[in-house]
């Protein structure tokens, strides 16, 4: 078969739509999905802000109960508050961000890739640096404050849980970034004739 014939087969579908759209259901889905997307982002951002504030707040309460903390607890408070602040700033930036529909496919891929690279480096930093440091400081602070041993055990278990989630998140971002890299390579490569 020559290509012209393939083209005729392709064109034959233009006057015969392959699906029927249920318009009313589509309208409802679009409005509902739009609302849901905003809600999901909102909830995850608030969870991060709240967790940072709560964790920092708990250490402050411990310090107050002990009539003052130690250097490790102060640093841990600052780090947890930084997480909350970071999440708050990210939320503000998301709200300001305008969806850019002017991009080409390559532009869209590059944009997605730059976000993916950022997420990979951020999650790597969180997994290997930020979380271990914050938990180590908090743990040292707990040990030095003469709290019962189960405080430290609970805190340790919490660290294991967060590390597991953080590692899983990092792997997801790496997979996504690698997928995008392959797509970009495929799009921009100059094929050999």
């Amino acid at each position: 078969m020559q290509f012209d014939e393939l083209q005729k087969i392709w064109d034959s579908q233009n006057n015969r739509p392959m699906y029927v759209i249920r318009e009313e259901a589509l309208h409802q889905k679009i409005l509902a999905k739009g609302r849901k997307a905003g809600k999901t982002a909102n909830i995850s951002e608030w969870i991060l802000i709240f967790s940072g504030l709560l964790a920092g707040g708990i250490i402050v309460v411990f310090d107050l109960m002990d009539d003052g903390g130690n250097i490790f607890s102060y640093i841990a408070i600052v780090l947890f508050l930084m997480i909350a602040m970071y999440s708050g700033v990210n939320r503000m930036l998301r709200k300001k961000r305008k969806i850019d529909f002017e991009r080409s496919m390559l532009g869209d891929l590059e944009h997605a890739l730059s976000i993916a690279e950022y997420q990979v480096s951020l999650s790597k930093g969180m997994f290997y640096g930020f979380w271990p440091a914050t938990f180590a400081l908090s743990l040292l602070s707990l040990i030095l404050s003469d709290k019962p041993i189960w405080y430290s055990i609970v805190f340790g278990l919490l660290f294991v849980g967060v590390s597991y989630i953080s590692r899983w998140e990092h792997r997801c971002y790496v997979r996504r970034r690698d997928e995008l890299k392959v797509l970009k390579k495929k799009l921009t490569e100059e094929p050999q004739l």
Partner: protein, 170 residues
Amino acid sequence: MDNKKQLDIFDLWINEFKPLLFKVVRAYAFTSNDQDDLFQEISIQIWRSIPNFKEKSKVSTWLYRVALNVALNWKRKHKKHEEGRQSLQHVEHILEHSEEEIDERLDWLYHEITKLDKIDRSITLLMLDGFSYKEMAEILGISESNIGVKIHRIKKHLTEQSQKPEHHAI
């Protein structure tokens, strides 16, 4: 832009350009559930894109750009349905297959297109829908010469596939 105006434009675009959207859906999603899901994702992005449309390009070019970008990044969120964790009866479908007679040759062509990688699928759809190299370069963001080479290769591949003995019935 108020909601009423946005909805009017949306309905107009969806009705006028549904064949274009269906082609993208069929080339990138294979099961009925996935086709429905991808169509919804594309529709949502089209809806959101309406206030940004400045009439610098044709509506068809704009819609192809939005639809292909969504298709390329689309994830199968409803995989759980296929795995049987949730009953399919509870999934509300937007698309229903029309009662038109199935064209086996068109089915075969779609089958061949879905065997291509994601990028080549986009190029094939644009090529078959008669977009110029310039328009394709604008949608894809790569040079016209690169597109020319890729199209040459795709045309050759599809023609060769159609000439294989097992496809003589087509």
